[in-house]
Symmetry: C2
Subunit: 189 residues, 2 copies
């Protein structure tokens, strides 16, 4: 039973609307209507529409950055690290599938500092991912397919989980993790 501040309620409602129509197509009147209040009232809790977007995206991006740092700096094998990355994406998706829509599709509407900050985090995330695969290939753990293709195909699937998982009614998180690891990794190992 989580107690949300009014701002958190707004951000949650906005995440759902942004997922359905995208940031630009959602108006403050749409959002207010979803909250059962008038648009002007939103501004007692948030400073701007832009602040809602950056709250959603930056928080999620930092979550991925923190998670990847832990995984990348561990002494695990490359395969174990890839399994941990899959775990990370599934965990975040279970917790905030709606917000991930904005992270994936509306990041370009961030402004100035937040946009740069986001792009830096995304780049470093992909670099860490690539480095894990490269090392795995070097040490013979992973088949030497084109590294970029392995990184791309794995990441594109993990990034799209937010669209797919909510539609799967009866699938246990642990079974999902297990099957996901099988499908994504058994091809390259």
């Amino acid at each position: 039973m989580k107690i949300e501040t009014r701002k958190q309620e707004i951000v949650s409602a906005a995440s759902i609307l942004f997922k359905e129509k995208g940031y630009s197509a959602v108006t403050m009147r749409d959002l207010a209507k979803a909250m059962g209040i008038k648009a002007a009232s939103l501004y007692n809790h948030i400073q701007s529409k832009q602040e809602i977007l950056s709250t959603i995206i930056i928080e999620l991006a930092e979550e991925f950055t923190t998670g990847m740092d832990k995984i990348a700096t561990s002494r695990d094998s490359a395969i174990q690290k890839l399994e941990n990355i899959i775990d990370l994406h599934i965990d975040v998706t279970l917790r905030n599938a709606d917000g991930l829509a904005s992270l994936n599709n509306d990041w370009m509407h961030l402004e100035e500092d937040n946009l740069q900050y986001f792009e830096k985090m995304r780049e470093e995330y992909e670099d860490s991912f690539r480095e894990i695969v490269r090392k795995g290939v070097d040490e013979g753990e992973i088949k030497s397919f084109n590294i970029e293709i392995i990184v791309f195909s794995t990441l594109s699937t993990l990034r799209t989980l937010y669209l797919w998982y909510p539609k799967q009614k009866n699938i246990d998180a642990n079974i999902l993790k297990h099957d996901m690891i099988s499908v994504l990794l058994k091809g390259v190992v």
Copy 2:
């Protein structure tokens, strides 16, 4: 050396802008500027902003529908059919990567008839894909992982090719096809 009508030029320019910012965030003034004319002049060639979007999306969706129909009704094995689907996505991506951004991210801004038509085509496409995998599993060609996960992970990768391929400077289309088939299918076969 392809000769484009003025409408085709507008649709091409719009595809690029829609890919960068999404349909809702691109204004007719943005589009006109990219064409080197004034916004009002666009309306001598197109009826509305909405018409541009539906031209982009419906054409691509019909291409996928036609391609999938040929693949699904052939006498090929399940594996051969999956390889043909990968081919189809790569071919379309090479020809119109920009338009695929709208297909993937802006379809919900289609109106009425076109929205229903699109959703019907997408549903049938996914059903055909699922049926091919199901039959492959039944006949022992494909490992019996969760069918939904196989369909989802494969399709999410193929649908994201439009983002990734243009960034790969020196990759031959045939090599891409070969590696893509390896990475996507060797895990499930």
